[in-house]
Symmetry: C2
Subunit: 135 residues, 2 copies
């Protein structure tokens, strides 16, 4: 049940093009992938830092959760994702501990992972995701 | 100049005692250290997840930056810290790229590290820290 590492940190940005240079030129990271996740209405850019990815998230529609987040809170860290062995098991365990789930069942996410979110009301204000490789 | 890994993720909480059970019982992590950082007016609790620490931050005074953060934004992710070889060099490099620094020089942080912060206005809304082991 314990996470093996922080899989990624999701950061809401207004524009990937405007944000990528900070990560590349100031932090010295390399953007290795840009991917659109159609059902989440986002375009993502990924950087690797040790075991962990930085995932920049740009909204592709005003209906995107990222557009709503930025409207309310401005650009910044959007969510924290833990790498688990099994997302379904992690979600069930969390629900058993009284955590409110956003996803009752795992669903496909970016980078070919299975993912599931818990509600930040239950997790101390941190929108928290479980991820695992597809089996 | 490239970070080796995410050194820690700082999370502002109202109460360590109320927050630690979520990290231990829901996520299966183990709190290995509670430390007070007097000059930052915070009490911290640490958990290891792979290469990265989760650092919970509780204010010990109303004047603490953490108290002000929670008052304004509520509990949640406060900052992101990258492990660097040399904090002074990383700060100088960032300033040369036009980044506004909070710390012009490295200073001592929790866990015996040298640290330096960049201003979130310059870093896409993410309060960002460089850390390195003391030499």
């Amino acid at each position: 049940m314990k996470p093996t590492h922080i899989e990624h940190i999701g950061i809401a940005v207004k524009s990937l093009n405007d944000s990528i240079p900070y990560y590349e030129e100031v932090l010295g990271l390399k953007c290795y992938s840009v991917e659109e996740v159609v059902d989440q209405k986002v375009k993502t850019a990924f950087f690797m830092v040790g075991q962990t990815k930085i995932e920049l998230l740009e909204a592709t529609s005003e209906e995107s959760p990222i557009a709503k987040f930025i409207e309310k809170k401005g650009e910044g860290i959007h969510h924290l994702a833990f790498a688990m062995e099994d997302v379904a098991e992690a979600l069930t365990h969390a629900e058993g501990k009284g955590i409110q789930l956003i996803d009752k069942q795992p669903r496909p996410g970016a980078e070919g992972l299975m993912i599931g979110f818990m509600h930040p009301k239950s997790t101390g204000g941190v929108l928290t995701e479980f991820c695992a490789k597809k089996k």
